[in-house]
Symmetry: C2
Subunit: 317 residues, 2 copies
Amino acid sequence: MHHVFHLLLYEGNRKGTGMSLLVVGSVALDSVTTPFGKVEEVLGGSATYFSCSASFFTKVKLVAVVGADFPSRHIRFLKDKNIDIRGLQVRNGKTFRWKGCYEYDLNEAKTVYTHLNVFSNFKPHIPDEYKNEDFVFLANIDPTLQEDVLMQVNKPALVACDSMNFWIENKKRELIRLLKKVDIFILNDAEARELAEEPNLLKGARRILSFGPKMVIIKKGEHGALLFSNHSFFSAPAYPLESIYDPTGAGDTFAGGFMGYLSKVRKITEPNVRKAIIYGSVLASYNVEDFSLNRLRRLTMNDIDRRYKEFKKLTCF
Amino acid sequence: MHHVFHLLLYEGNRKGTGMSLLVVGSVALDSVTTPFGKVEEVLGGSATYFSCSASFFTKVKLVAVVGADFPSRHIRFLKDKNIDIRGLQVRNGKTFRWKGCYEYDLNEAKTVYTHLNVFSNFKPHIPDEYKNEDFVFLANIDPTLQEDVLMQVNKPALVACDSMNFWIENKKRELIRLLKKVDIFILNDAEARELAEEPNLLKGARRILSFGPKMVIIKKGEHGALLFSNHSFFSAPAYPLESIYDPTGAGDTFAGGFMGYLSKVRKITEPNVRKAIIYGSVLASYNVEDFSLNRLRRLTMNDIDRRYKEFKKLTCF
């Protein structure tokens, strides 16, 4: 349980000047319809949810691209969350837009449209000030772009990434090539089965570990999350929620809490990774209680700590 | 977490002479086909799986009915497991037979046939020697028969029961009436949603608690199990299995491990109920590794304790 793999960071090896991490992903304007209501062109995007979530623990350095139509109040919001947006490009053109709707079971979004807009020719540019980040998260974008990011950064201590069924189906070779350079891979159970071509999650996770990552985290939505490595297995519960209003961004919020906490404690031990998964689950469980980032906007560290304790209570025996 | 509800038993209040429990349910001959093989007319039945599982912890007193064609080697097997079968009636006619098959995902049995045979007019008769049992489990049979059993026993300290979609769909009123007299109700997630007429499990469990039980345990197969009471919530993991050969009887095996452990420790506290759920999960996780009762037949307490410790390791943070 206390197996420490070689990414353990000693204080003396710290390259950065404090607790921080780098995220590359999407910043978007989302329109979402659920049985409980709808929102139009609200702030969204994988890197947005990730950053907002991680910002509770660490200084986030964000690389993404938005269009000239991106509302300045969203820029202000990101800055107010102490997110470093020097890497957020503003281009002529329109911001990435996504529209989805959820059925009554609120499990899976049906995409109505994805308009990449300025993202369609996005080339992530990592500013010099970001190149020495020890903790790097490659949020869900084209695996070719994710790999491009890794070529611009200087030997990060921990690289984690996310993907989605679209890339697994259409750019599988590039994704598997990327995974050789990834330490922790986060995906959901359907994606894991699809990528590993294996219905059994344990076998599937082993297959994915063989592609390169030291750890695979499989998110199971209402059923919690699983951590697989070659040495151990961890099963984290889901928080019992009566009302789920909008699951959009839950996975990215999970990843942000996870990486945020890890970049704060810095030592990549099994116990810390497990705690990080719980913090990710805490953040994600709050995220789904309201549309867009609304719940995260008014969340406090007290809220987070309180729910973390509840997670402990609901699993111990 | 240490809330003790009023079914706490003090040593002085013990009616029975030792650790024991009563189970009423089915004893059957099962035929099962899976992608990995098939078996014909092997020992099965809800009360059989339950008893075999509970026998690791406690003296089981079994009430059921078999036909004259029930092979004597199965009688010997039950006796060798120290199961008291004075309540097992042998009637003219044929033993209850069930035939099912599993698709590749091994999640849900498709019933090919259910031939009740002697079970079609089964009237449970509780022998006098069994009427003072403190721990009573009503395995999955007609809720009218389950209620009949309760009228024959003398104020047990703990009544738990199981059911299935067939009774929820066809004898819902009788089932709900029974639940007023049940302390712990065990069912799977699909059954819970159907009985409560509610897609959200938390709301559904609250609805079921309002029918009478103090605790509801919702089994989620590969996703673990949940315990709901008015005071607490517990989420138990599933054991990560590479190979599931035959899930037949897993739920009954779970119930047997659960009740068996509780009847051994006797104090119905939240911590003990949680441990009992883990022991139930341990037993069920072994059960599915082979056809019929084959894995349980060769299981040892060492195996059980070892896997119990693994459950602890796979959840703690």
